[in-house]
Amino acid sequence: MSKITVENLVKVFGKKKNQALQMVKEDKTKAEILKATGATVGVNDVSFSVEQGEIFVIMGLSGSGKSTLVRMLNRLIEPTEGSIFIDGENISKMDKKDLRKVRREKLSMVFQNFGLFPHRTILENTEYGLEIQGYSKEDRQQKAEIALENAGLIAFKDQYPNQLSGGMQQRVGLARALANDPEILLMDEAFSALDPLIRRDMQDELLNMQETMNKTLVFITHDLNEALRIGDRIAIMKDGELVQLGTGEEILTNPANEYVEKFVEDVDRAKVIRAENIMTRPTYIEIDHDGPHVALQLMKKEGLSSMVVLDDDRNLQGYVTDKDIVKAVQRKEKSVKDILRKDLPTVDPDTLVSELFDVIQDSSTPVGVVRDGKLLGIIVRSLVISALAKDSEVHE
């Protein structure tokens, strides 16, 4: 038996539902139905099933009905028609009480903007699912602490969500979802709001976690790279309809129609590597907090000859060199402001590696990858060379 089975699921928003539903049955498209009835078809006659332990990715452009579909699985959105079975039980027919039980015991959800409660600490957020089930304070704290421990977040348990970075907040979101040990995780664009580097880390963590936990995951994304990276199977949606369902390999080699082909082309272009794909995490100092001593320490430790300087919002201020730093330390200066150099070459995250090569060749420093003034990562020469080398291997 499949873990989740969805049969002929339809969601119509707006009035004239019956007329719209009739048109859905006549295989009319979302645009036709909107024109004739004024109703928006969120999900148009979708069927699929998900196996236990699978990572099932639902992918599509914005507005294609992904969020609506995933919210019908736990009935945050009521289906207009069709059935959903979880472990053979018909979710769509359940009364409120049974539905609550399924939500409490079988399904957890992770949200795009993390969905953390701002008035609760990290621990209290993580406890939430257990608290509403009536666990005693001790029990639920213990379980929540284990979940936070596993996520490496226990040190932050008494802080509030807004004190944490986006990546950390989403780790909390995930820990909270896992705290009541659900069988199924629903993740609606869970990583879409994160920076590229952090996003990759989170994808890796999720895959690692999945190896030991063996949950069933329904993962929504609009990014085919992400889908290919983590999905066992991928369902592609367009205008509420499911246009192709298959493994990443199948979709890449055999796109079902033009729409899917367009997506796949995007991947091809992404294969020509961009700055954001190869950049690394920068070692940096903060201009207002760190002085030459800190800088020297860090540079020694990491074996660097220059290091970037940021402000506390990660805006790039410039860089310092090892020679200047040694002098500043000797002169007992407190700040690096006087020795700050401003001529760090920077590039956009979308810059292709071929273009990067020219920039980095005449530079004695690494290149900063910057968007809106914020430093996302840095690129050193060796990274570009190895990326180009791999790239040519692929083409040969």
Partner: protein, 281 residues
């Protein structure tokens, strides 16, 4: 009077109809209004008597301490409260002040006890929202004096009709802000709460109300201020307090007394406003 083209039907007897409806209401429910009247009077007179029993020095110090701690250990408001309340006491208006405070507190409490649940109801039910919104609009656009008429009809004169009129006048902000506060809770947080299997009341008490709290408190602050202004107007129907001093000064054209009582009201208003604002941050 000249014949007008508009006179093709006779005057519709609206005022007569309202009057006979009110007669019916007061007649039929006389026992109810009477018992509310005597119970309310008992409670409020008791409360005022208790307040008067507190020595003014102690009362002023308590308010000053509350102001001091509520404003994060700053002296500004506390100092103002001491000087201001002392002035009221010095002018021999202490008992009036206590009467006014009783009326404001009781009116505000009743408004909150009614207003918050109604606001929640409006946020949850589309029907409630469409029906109650125009009623709130009406309540807020009616001149305040109008409420004195049914108040007198139901409860005669004194404190109880004063509170009745004040509650009607002061209720809308609490209702509106509660409604708004709950509607403003981000959709994703409501979904998060539901996705874990919360019941309706768990969602309300653990997520929606805590997140709407500061908005609701802003509404309550407005309610307190409106209650104060209405309590003054209610002196026209015999509600005791600083307002009645202003009224009698007005009737006798005593500029001096009027000024002093008016100033006392302003002092009370400022202290109450700042204090509720700070307590609810």
């Amino acid at each position: 009077m000249e014949e007008s083209i508009l006179d093709f039907i006779p005057e519709i007897p609206v005022s007569d109809a309202v009057e006979s409806f009110m007669d019916w209401l007061t007649g039929t429910f006389a026992f109810l209004f009477d018992s509310i009247q005597s119970f309310g009077k008992f409670v409020m007179e008791g409360m005022t008597d208790l307040l008067i029993l507190i020595p003014p020095v102690l009362f002023i110090l308590i308010i000053a301490a509350a102001a001091f701690f509520a404003s994060g250990k700053k002296f500004g408001l506390a100092a103002f409260a001491i000087v201001g309340l002392w002035f009221v006491q010095n002018q021999g208006l202490w008992e009036d002040l206590m009467n006014t405070i009783t009326l404001v507190i009781i009116s505000s409490l009743i408004s909150i006890v009614i207003g918050v649940p109604v606001g929640i109801w409006m946020a949850k039910s589309k029907w409630a929202n469409t029906i109650i919104t125009p009623i709130l609009d009406l309540m807020q656009t009616m001149p305040a004096f109008v409420y004195l008429i049914p108040a007198v009809a139901f409860f005669g004169i004194g404190m109880v009709p004063g509170v009745f009129a004040s509650v009607i006048f002061a209720l809308p902000p609490t209702v509106r802000f509660t409604n708004l506060g709950i509607r403003q809770v981000p959709e994703e947080l409501v979904e998060a709460s539901e996705s874990f299997g919360s019941t309706g009341s768990q969602k309300l008490f653990k997520v929606e109300l805590p997140l709407a709290k500061s908005t609701i408190m802003a509404g309550i602050n407005q309610t307190v201020m409106l209650a104060l202004s209405m309590v003054v107007i209610a002196s026209m129907i015999g509600a005791p307090g600083l307002g009645s001093e202003v009224l009698s000064a007005l009737q006798r054209a005593q500029v001096g007394t009027g000024f002093v009582s008016g100033l006392s009201l302003v002092i009370l208003a400022i202290v109450m406003d700042r204090l509720t604002q700070k307590l609810t941050k």
